[in-house]
Assembly symmetry: C2
Homo-oligomer: 156 residues x 2
């Protein structure tokens, strides 16, 4: 199956689940089992999410094969951000307290960003000028395209 850039609901959506009913961000790539979106966060422009398409709450709800596949997708997004942006650090997280539908945050962090070295969910540490997007050194369209290209061979 080729990657798509159109959202399609899972086969067994959970009523009222925000990630069953909509993409949850800019849809970068959708495959049979997962999609990658870009969160639209001005403070962290290189903030992507790997969303498992079917509604499961926990990483451990996936079978072993699916867990491996899921983390292969996460690692491909991580690698693309490292290659394109040389961030100070990558942050990975699967929390889901508010939206308990499995999704992995993949966030490029920089020592100049508003929350560094705290997690993005902590209190901001500073204001950032010029804007984070201006400091990335690439356009989001180019970054999305690089993520899409890195995922092409993982579509299934």
């Amino acid at each position: 199956m080729a990657l798509s850039q159109d959202f399609a609901a899972p086969r067994s959506p959970r009523a009222g689940c925000a990630l069953c009913e909509a993409s949850g961000g800019v849809l970068v790539a959708q495959a049979q089992r997962w999609r990658v979106i870009r969160a639209e966060d001005a403070a962290f422009p290189a903030f992507y999410r790997v969303v498992w398409r079917e509604h499961v709450a926990e990483f451990g709800d996936l079978d072993a094969d699916a867990r491996v596949h899921c983390m292969t997708v996460v690692e491909a997004v991580e690698r693309t951000l490292r290659e394109r942006l040389a961030p100070t650090k990558i942050n990975l997280a699967a929390l889901g307290n508010v939206v308990p539908h499995l999704h992995w945050h993949v966030i490029a962090r920089f020592d100049w960003d508003s929350h560094w070295p705290q997690p993005v969910w902590a209190a901001p540490q500073r204001t950032v000028e010029p804007t984070p997007l201006a400091r990335l050194g690439t356009s989001l369209a180019a970054l999305d395209a690089a993520v899409f290209a890195a995922l092409a061979h993982l579509a299934d």
Copy 2:
């Protein structure tokens, strides 16, 4: 190799790295490639970390086999916490902004905990009485032993 409960430094420690030089918490189990520690956090008593023994900063610095193995360990800790505690949610994260040595946070979250539904790194939402430990319904010694048992077949 059998699991140990004694800390041993990695073969190639990074000078000044807190997770190369010490366990980083209560050492629950150590294998050849990883160890599991319990963070001593009164607000989140069921807070474990899977620490990769050799010093690498990013998940993607591991080769594919090691990534699979690492997440198998993470999932085993997650599964144990779910079976023993029936938490509201599991939170997983590899951040490493302050200590850039690969470690996965595995945290049992409850809808009564001090930060719920926010991440543990955000601002607290409430005070918790009685103590979180008293509300767990099990001792930390019993929980550590269950985690150790779940990891025994993964030692390598």
